[in-house]
Amino acid sequence: MAKMHIALRVNNRQVETLAEPRILLIHLLREELGITGPHIGCDTSHCGACTVDMNGRSVKSCTVFAAQAHGAEIITIEGLASADGSLHPLQEAFREHHGLQCGFCTPGMITRAYRLLQEIPNPSEAEIRHGIAGNLCRCTGYQTIVRAIRAAAERLNMPKEAAE
């Protein structure tokens, strides 16, 4: 079918493009916009490697048509660092606690953790495990991921004066 005009905000930047309605959001991001952080790990919406933050929700971008994302506000892993380049506490915590090995699940995992910590700023271990149940990892066994998310939560919850 004919291409349609799609306009959306990705990582704080306004983008516009023409795409067939059936183009999946993950392909729009990776192929059209060169945003290759989110990955494709399955075809049945299970693995979560494609997770982005869309309109304040964790969403599997492989299960959304680009057309549905017209007008949306999207954050991917590439958009988590600050404007001055300093890393998000989650990104630092994942490195600090060895929360990744091959790195393929990592963008989706961190992007999901980012929203999880907005939902539950001080999550217990069980809440973290249930909170990332939509993100599969084959390398780490999740234990260090849970530690990293816990550590990031602590850092984010520190009162500003103590953090400085």
Binding site: M1, M4, E20, P21, R22, L24, I40, D43, T44, S45, H46, G48, T51, R57, S58, V59, K60, C62, T63, V64, F65, A67, Q68, H70, R112, L116, H130, G131, I132, A133, G134
Partner: protein
């Protein structure tokens, strides 16, 4: 993993949506959360030529109550159901069930309307709505009508919806204060459909069960209203004997298919266990 082509429509009103469905007939499908339809389109098991996206229809949003009912509009997401204080206070089985559906990302997108309307025997909310005695408000070219959930499901992916219909809201008769409830689901892992699941809503009065409704998920090609199983506990103290009888009657109507979750006899057995555990928990919760 690549869907077939389609034309995309994003109506701004419910009437416009209904008009589009009427215009394109069987070549059109609605998409709400998309997490049932889009995976099927990616496998090319569904190839609608026209996709009608309901996301801009604010009239299909909202969770509210009337004195004798809770009304949930079709586009309410599982995430919203979990967070709704009204539901936590008045109809907590919904929250308990939503937390056992899929995973966090899917719950952000998946809607109540989608979960109850597409006739997938694996979906969890249909049995809950059946147990609650809910009705579905449906709108189409021919106007609007209310269909009781217990009359809605005809077969796998086959419901009382006619071509061009849109389910717009679910109306749940207000459960009694202090009612007991439970949704007990066995699954292979988080995110899986049920090996078998049971929804129980009951009321107790003076230590005796005054009403009970039991419904089963994924042990037939529709949700099952286990009417006789529910009757087995009414008038009893929901003791071991009553629970056993209810479980037995529920197993009697189950006819699950064998699949990766296990052979049919196992799944029927699990249905019985789920009924037992749901009854025990519902009784414990009943005020």
């Amino acid at each position: 993993m690549i869907p077939a082509s389609f034309e995309y429509h994003r109506p701004r009103s419910l009437d416009e949506a209904i008009g589009l469905l009427a215009q394109h007939g069987e070549d059109a499908r609605v998409v709400a959360g998309g997490h049932s339809l889009i995976p099927m389109m990616k496998l090319r098991l569904a190839k609608p030529e026209h996709l009608v996206d309901l996301q801009d229809l604010d009239e299909l949003r909202g969770i509210r109550s009337e004195p004798d009912a809770v009304i949930i509009a079709a586009l309410a997401t599982q995430h919203e159901l979990i967070g709704a204080e009204l539901l936590a206070a008045k109809c907590p089985i919904i929250r308990e069930t939503a937390l056992q559906i899929a995973d966090p990302q899917v719950r952000y997108c998946g809607t109540l309307g989608g979960n109850v309307a597409n006739g997938d025997p694996g979906n969890d909310m249909p049995a809950v709505m059946v147990a609650l005695g809910a009705t579905y408000r449906v709108k189409g070219r021919g106007g609007e009508r209310d269909i009781p959930a217990r009359d809605f499901y005809e077969g796998a992916y086959s419901t009382a919806l006619r071509e061009g219909d849109i389910l717009v809201a679910v109306r749940i008769p207000m459960p009694a204060d202090g009612h007991g409830y439970a949704y007990e689901k066995q699954k292979r892992k988080v995110g899986d459909y049920a090996t078998a699941a049971a929804a129980v809503v009951l009321t107790m009065s003076g230590g005796v069960c005054s009403s009970a409704a039991i419904a089963l998920t994924n042990v037939a090609d529709t949700p099952l209203f286990a009417k006789e199983a529910g009757e087995a506990v009414v008038g009893t103290a929901v003791d071991e004997a009553a629970i056993s009888e209810a479980a037995r009657r529920a197993q009697h109507i189950a006819s699950p298919s064998a699949d990766g979750r296990g052979p049919a006899d196992f799944r029927t057995h699990v249905a019985g266990i789920m009924v037992r555990r749901a009854l025990a928990r519902a009784k414990e919760r009943a005020g």
